[in-house]
Symmetry: C2
Amino acid sequence: MKITCQKAELAKGVNIVSKAVPTRTTMAILECILIDASTNEIKLTANDMEIGIETIIEGTIEERGIIALDARFFSDIVRKLPDNEVTIETDATFKTTITCEKANFTIVGKSGEDFAYIPIIPRNEPILLSQFTLKEVIRQTIFSIADNENNKLMTGELFEIEGNHLKVVSLDGHRISIRNIELKESYENKKVVVPGKSLIEVSKIIPGSTEEMVNLFITDNHIIFEFDNTTVVSRLIEGEYFKIDQMLSTDYETKFKINKRELLDCIDRATLMVKEGDKKPIIMDITDGNMELKINSVAGSMKEDIEIGKEGKDILIGFNPKFFIDALRVIDEEEVSIYMVNPKAPCFIKDDEDKYIYLILPVNFNTATN
Amino acid sequence: MKITCQKAELAKGVNIVSKAVPTRTTMAILECILIDASTNEIKLTANDMEIGIETIIEGTIEERGIIALDARFFSDIVRKLPDNEVTIETDATFKTTITCEKANFTIVGKSGEDFAYIPIIPRNEPILLSQFTLKEVIRQTIFSIADNENNKLMTGELFEIEGNHLKVVSLDGHRISIRNIELKESYENKKVVVPGKSLIEVSKIIPGSTEEMVNLFITDNHIIFEFDNTTVVSRLIEGEYFKIDQMLSTDYETKFKINKRELLDCIDRATLMVKEGDKKPIIMDITDGNMELKINSVAGSMKEDIEIGKEGKDILIGFNPKFFIDALRVIDEEEVSIYMVNPKAPCFIKDDEDKYIYLILPVNFNTATN
């Protein structure tokens, strides 16, 4: 194999596919990036068997061939090359020479034959979404997936399509994040659970332009993200996702509007009082026109008042501050509406159009000491 | 005690003195920042017994007093306060209330009585140096102090004053860094060894302006850095520093000029071939007009040619790449001159005026395999 391409183009491609290189694996070949120049295009591929990424880079094929190169080592070399044309040449023993200006690296690659190619999946009609929308919706929900594998379904996100409507849901047993997106066109109904890890990697490599689109293909076992010159194939998580509709009651006893930035900063300050491992709740004392936010811990105490616009009953309720911070951080609106029922029922942060719903369970606290 | 000051001013002061808070200590009081408002000024102090820092901040003293507050906790709180006026008030039980806008923190401080104040040292005539010069000279030499305590003197830097000349030296047994600085005035001769750790902290907190000065005071056991509203007192390292003059022979067999950036980038690329713990040298093959730089390791090999302007003999010599990278990174000149004697004698990177001299010992390598 002999190919030439620009360093920037090669570095971009390597950076994209590197996201699918497993950090730990018993299959040494998976630690490689495959350069496939056996046809008319130069394709880079990496695959950790759950997520596979391939991307086509611009360049010239002088001699067709395939080579697998250690991903970490190869990407370190590419990154440090001068910003000029790079030549990659291999011989029959997989010895690979990488040349750029006067720099000349020789490393030993592997035959591409054992490489686990990305499965070829028959594609139906694509679902169209802007890169920006997909990247945003992942950011706005990914924080509330569960980080342990006790319940596999909780480590993924529900992608549900109904007509021209996409709903994305994540939950971890203490909170639920829901985002509703209107699509330009209508599609066949689908309901799948996508691994959170795959979504994290996808959101890292999507440029996120509002103009450029992502083509989504959903099959029984896979989801495919196609954008620019890149294809990401991820397995789906099997099983039926949680029925969340019954948790989303619309009744409330207390409703208030509050400045998002003020509330976020205030909770952020309150968390200073919580040392690691210590599970002190923040207490919200909500009365007409005012919320007193307070926290007591071994380290000391903190309290602060915030002006609110309240309807309904007064309430004294406690929360894990992190859950509030996570949700507030991904809401763009300046003012948010918060709905509460009682100190043991979940609270909702949501907008009037249900574009977003963040449900957070309160925690018990001893009123005597707070 | 009751004081008020602006958040930015308080945060700046806390950030400065925090550099002298020990990370590990058996004396809990040293983990504190002392706020001393017992006179007409608000002074913050921290002291780890080797380095002590005090800084005066602007503010109003409403009630005189002293309090010691846990440094980490206090600085976290200060950093997260709104950008406005802060009030710090203590009561007889050292309970401390920090108020800013509507935020209100209560933490428990300690009596300032047990605090290890910075020693009061009689000051002689100050040595004047611009903040920029001091910050630069530390950066340009600090990397070659030894990082273990086997030889205490190697963990510090020599500050030698002769007339209007300041020489700063560091060495670790494999290399020597020397910087010579011309002072505006002449001073009494002095020769002291300053702990590297103190210099690192000083260089972090000096703003580094070319206009503003640092007053240096040197006594038998201490060095004092005075700048802006801050005083840093560091112990000196006892003992006689190494005699380096006899190592600085001016004879050479090979001299060449080389573009600094090209050499640095090339060595940087070569280090890709060196995995951690592997002590592979880079080999420089210096002939008329050309240096071939190469490295061979288990991972593969790399070679690159760089144009040079050479006088004297050809030479084949090996180095630890890190030592070259460290020295080249702190040289501002676009072109450097390198002097060599033979493959076992130290090489020198230096300018014509001896403003800087970097001496690097070569390493043995097996010519057969390289």
